[in-house]
């Protein structure tokens, strides 16, 4: 019987396998950041252990770094300590660090692919749930907690119960690919299968709607696999994948011979079977806007807020969840999405802060100003993205429109650094989570694509970007 792509990667990384038990899996790349690693390094010290493969371990700082002028000292003492701790840990254990002033600093899931560290067919872990992003390159990429970070640092392996393969087919062609984006595809998937729809699985995204996407768009899709509850998401590598990774700073020297082996091997066999399947036709999908407090609470920009009964379809807890969400979001059923006014716009995060995201958003705002009651910011995903965008003059387009143009980091996606919403503020955000308080206590998040966020900034409320000329 044929094998799925996931099963092929899994089988080639088994160190120990026993019946009815998790397997010990070899890890090819371990990405480390400042927030989920300190206790792991401390554990190594207490037990007098070394990092087994410092050469396969790469660190950066992203979650808690300021996105303002980096020549100034960090005022928050605990943040400053967290950053210094990573510097010391990397020095003590011999790990390559892209520190706060490195030209390669950035969100860990943006820099991995950009530097050619992420490779097809590999296993990648990081103490961050959005590690699933790297699956866009045909890697098995898993978010892990701090205990597992310590386990991988010490052993370059981790125990893992074998997830089940889940096929999501994205079929058809979008009529307006500049207005209906990868973000809208993945939000549509989560809206349909639910935030627990992928639990215990590794999703493989397939079909014309996926192969049509650029690598940056594929990363947006795989990034949000975790929001559907999946352990990981992946896409079989193709020529676009191989072209993207060619000639990057850390691309292996024998790259072309690797490509030859990947081409034949890294795809699901035609007779492979999946435990679960879902198909999304995309010919007619609309831009998506989340209205609630999890990414499954999402609707078309042309729709109005559903009633809790309409949303829950008879499920009592879903109904309660929708009622609480509407209360928290201060929204009433029946309100048109396009009538929702916003206070803030955040273009950033590991979901949507790559160069292509910024290019697309800049087309919307060129020669325009943001609405006078809106505060808006762009936080590029990495310093390299920022530099490339500046070389193209995108920074000027955003600044002229009254956007703030910041340094790279996770920023307002998770509200760890000073970039947060005030209580009650409503934000059109290109990030991945609209949880209560995620972007700051009492803050209200609507998840959208970069073009939808940019259009909301200009208009002061959500608008259907299909009505705009984005070519």
């Amino acid at each position: 019987m044929g094998k799925t792509l996931f099963e092929k990667i899994w089988e080639s990384h088994i160190v120990v396998e026993k019946q009815n038990s998790p397997s010990l899996i070899y890890i090819d790349r371990h990405l480390v950041h400042e927030v989920t690693s300190p206790q792991a390094f401390e554990g190594l010290r207490i037990n007098n252990r070394k990092v087994r493969r410092p050469d396969l371990t790469i660190a950066t700082m992203d979650h808690n770094v300021p996105t303002t002028d980096r020549s100034l000292p960090i005022l928050d003492q605990t943040s400053s300590v967290q950053i210094q701790t990573l510097e010391k840990n990397c020095k003590d254990f011999g790990i390559k660090l892209f520190g706060i002033n490195s030209p390669n600093q950035g969100i860990v899931h943006v820099i991995g692919p950009q530097l050619g560290i992420t490779l097809p067919g590999t296993t990648i872990v990081c103490g961050d749930s959005h590690t699933s992003t790297h699956g866009a390159f045909g890697a098995l990429a898993l978010g892990i907690g701090t205990s597992d970070v310590e386990h991988v640092l010490a052993s370059q392996t981790m125990w893992l119960e074998k997830p089940k393969p889940f096929e999501i087919r994205v079929e058809g062609k979008r009529k307006n690919p500049h207005a209906v984006t990868a973000k809208d595809i993945v939000l549509s998937i989560i809206k349909n299968i639910g935030t627990g729809g992928g639990t215990g699985t590794v999703i493989e995204y397939r079909g014309e709607g996926i192969t049509d996407l650029s690598m940056e768009q594929r990363m947006t899709i795989c990034n949000m696999s975790i929001e559907a509850g999946a352990r990981a998401g992946l896409i079989a590598p193709d020529e676009k994948t191989f072209d993207y990774l060619r000639d990057r700073e850390y691309t292996p020297k024998n790259y072309e011979s690797l490509v030859d082996t990947w081409k034949d091997h890294l795809k699901s066999d035609s007779d492979a079977t999946f435990d679960k399947q879902f198909t999304l036709p995309i010919d007619d999908i609309a831009p998506q806007v989340s209205w609630g407090t999890n990414p499954g609470m999402t609707c078309d920009v042309t729709e109005s807020i559903p009633t809790p009964d309409e949303f829950s379809k008879g499920d009592v807890n879903q109904k309660k969840g929708a009622e609480k969400a509407l209360d928290y979001m201060d929204l009433k059923p029946g309100t048109l999405i396009e009538d929702i006014k916003i206070d803030r716009v955040f273009i950033g995060s590991c979901t949507n802060a790559r160069l292509e995201d910024l290019i697309e958003a800049s087309k919307v705002i060129k020669d325009q100003k943001i609405s006078p009651h809106v505060k808006a910011m762009v936080v590029p995903g990495s310093q390299m993205v920022k530099k490339q965008a500046e070389e193209m003059g995108l920074d000027k387009i955003f600044i002229n429109a009254n956007f703030e143009w910041r340094e790279a980091g996770c920023s307002m996606c998770l509200g760890m650094n000073p970039d947060i919403l005030s209580p009650g503020e409503r934000c059109a955000s290109t990030s991945n989570r609209n949880f209560e308080g995620r972007q700051g206590t009492g803050g209200r998040t609507h998840l959208v694509s970069p073009v939808m966020a940019a259009a909301a900034a200009i208009n002061g409320h959500f608008v259907d970007v299909r009505k705009m000329d984005l070519n």
């Binding site: 038990s21 927030v35 300190p38 961050d128 749930s129 892990i144 627990g196 999890n294 308080g437």
Partner: protein, 163 residues
């Protein structure tokens, strides 16, 4: 293991409400615990007692991989979370660090147990006794290795080669 239940009758309790992002710089677990559940229930810290359990719906612990979430609950005194289902990273983090027991329950336990009920969790028989209401429910047994990691007191105390 006996204790009283704090019930959150909803699905998708995420790790951002269990421990909001702004506290992820805190490395002192006792201090971290003072902010547990703050995003959802600001009274949690004042009402939680050592040995309490949390009961909730589907997909508990969804979202971020922050191990701070089970740590904050554990250091608040929570010994187990009973839920209809768990997000996998939260489940694993809970077990890895032996912070608390993630117990998957059925609809009967979810509906039967109310806020404040005293219950007894018996992992050896996979039963939950509701002492307040004199009812008994089945819990989903831990898989073999999860049971062993729990029995050993966490991932780093578990020695697979002795199996």
């Amino acid at each position: 293991m006996k204790g009283n239940v704090i019930k959150y009758d909803r699905d998708n309790i995420d790790t951002d409400v269990i421990i909001p992002g702004q506290y992820l710089k805190i490395h002192d677990y006792a201090e971290l615990a003072t902010h547990a559940m703050e995003g959802l229930d600001p009274d949690f810290h004042s009402k939680v007692k050592e040995g309490d359990f949390i009961l909730s719906g589907k997909n508990f612990g969804s979202g971020s991989s922050r191990e701070h979430a089970p740590i904050a609950l554990s250091h608040s005194g929570i010994k187990a979370v009973l839920a209809l289902s768990f997000a996998r990273i939260f489940y694993r983090n809970s077990v890895d660090g032996a912070f608390l027991l993630p117990i998957e329950i059925g609809q009967d336990a979810y509906d039967g147990i109310s806020e404040g009920d005293e219950i007894n969790i018996d992992v050896s028989s996979n039963e939950i006794q509701n002492i307040t209401k004199n009812q008994t429910y089945k819990m989903k047994p831990f898989s073999e290795i999860i049971g062993k990691i729990i029995a050993a007191g966490g991932l780093f105390k578990y020695k697979p080669d002795q199996d």
